[in-house]
Amino acid sequence: MPESASPFRLKGNYFAEPYHFRTDVTTGVCRTPTGVRICTLPPDFLLGLRDALIYECGKSYRTVLKAAGRRWGSQWIKRLDREWTAYYQQPFRELPAGLIRVCLADAFAAHGYGKLDYTRAEESPEFWSAEIGDSLFPALVGESDRPVDLLMSGLLAAIFSYLHGLTMDCLQTECPSMGAERSRFLIGPAPRIAELEAWWEANTPLPSHEQVLQQAAATSHAPTNGQTHTHQEHHLPHSQPPLEVVS
């Protein structure tokens, strides 16, 4: 019986093991079963980091924090890819797209980042809408006039870039520190995100996530700096059609 291109697998929540994060209190070292050292960041550290960055870098602290998130994300997803590939005994990127999403959500939840969900934008398939419920940074920072979930922004950009093999970027469109219910992000090809970010910043009041999606769809056929965007759908495992459903 021939197997479909992305055969369905089920191995449960990789992180929900009793001793997945085990601290040896005599040495003060916490490790996962694969030997990776895990550090738990207290909120005081994160706020201290933000304070120090704002103090030293001024307005450009946002770029720095997002770049740090991106750099971290590119290593994190590489390592997770290795671990999940070993766990599923097949290349992680070849798993069904939905399963990849559930695994990433499990990772976010296990590490305390909040509840992750994402979908492809219907009208512009090169974009993805992501959201994080109970995201940590906005809960710490409180009120702000700009989105504050910069680490997550960088992290998501790195994760999607890695999984899709393209340079992608992430724009945070809604933030609990600005009154929204959860953090929402738009992830897409880096040049398009840069344009949308410029458009987003230039508007007062700042557009909602839906408005940004509409703008993305409206400008999707406009040439970007003379380049045409090639939609490499057929190379991406995520673009496989869903598995057969019982009739």
Partner: protein, 267 residues
């Protein structure tokens, strides 16, 4: 919760004036921070002059020295809490390496060190702001009569369970105004590895602010030796700025920790 509560917004982030440090001692405790620890119906709410041992069930759970009790995980919402109700975030070594790397890229090596030190310093101030009232409430006693080493271990303990390493402090030269700290399994140094330069600036800032708060005067901290310079563990000195700057200078000239300690004792 506001992100920065310095009394004076123009003062440098790592050199608070004494008023700021005094204010930290006067912070009122937030009773909610002890919700997870309180056993209802036992505490009577009075703060005594010193800790009074009592038999039987304690008004607050003190023994949360274990992974399973310290970390409270809500898998549905993806939230990790400590016993004080604070949100925590788990990261692998990649994070610390990435922070250092991107700081160096964006603001250069010196700028990165400044930022990390200041981050550690602010971290310590935020931490102390919560820690002191929490100690007062959890042990139902005034802070003045608590032994310093008891306070120190109670403060450091959460960092151990969170994977930041273990420590030893040496107060034998406190009369000379010198405090030495040994740090084992530094999260930063062990993640970055042997690069031939000290890297534990987060810790240095942290120790500086914590000891500044306890001493109620501004102190600095510098790392004399590090796992990242090939040593087995990291060593720090906490003292006033003159001596700390001198120690940094000698270290950059290549002096070992022992040399620095000898010279500082003679200063």
């Amino acid at each position: 919760m506001k992100s920065s509560e310095a009394a004076d917004f123009t003062e440098p982030l790592d050199k608070p004036n004494e008023q700021t440090l005094q204010i930290i001692w006067q912070e009122k405790g937030e009773p909610r921070t002890l919700t997870f620890l309180r056993r209802n119906g036992i505490a009577d709410g009075t703060i005594r002059k010193q800790i009074v041992p009592r038999p039987g069930v304690q008004p607050y759970l003190h023994n949360y020295y274990h992974d399973r009790v310290y970390f409270r995980h809500d898998p549905e919402r993806g939230i990790l809490l400590n016993p004080y109700g604070q949100r925590l975030m788990r990261v692998s070594e990649d994070f610390l390496v990435a922070i250092l790397g991107s700081l160096e890229d964006e603001v250069g090596q010196n700028g990165a060190r400044e930022i990390m030190y200041k981050c550690g310093y602010q971290w310590g101030l935020h931490d102390m702001r919560r820690f002191l009232p929490r100690m007062r409430a959890e042990f139902e006693a005034e802070l003045e009569r608590m032994r310093v080493d008891f306070l120190m271990e109670e403060w450091w303990w959460p960092l151990t369970i969170q994977g930041w390493g273990t420590w030893r402090y040496d107060f034998r030269q406190r009369d000379k105004g010198l405090l030495y700290i040994e740090l084992y399994e530094s999260a930063v140094a062990k993640s970055i590895g042997d690069i031939g330069a000290v890297v534990c600036y987060f810790y240095a800032g942290l120790f500086a602010s914590v000891f500044s708060t306890l001493a109620k005067r501004a102190l600095g901290c510098v790392e004399m030796q590090c796992y990242a310079t090939g040593e087995e563990f990291c060593r720090f000195v906490v003292s006033d700025y003159d001596r700390v700057n001198a120690a940094a200078f000698w270290r950059n000239e290549g002096a070992t920790a022992r040399d620095i300690m000898k010279k500082l004792a003679q200063m």
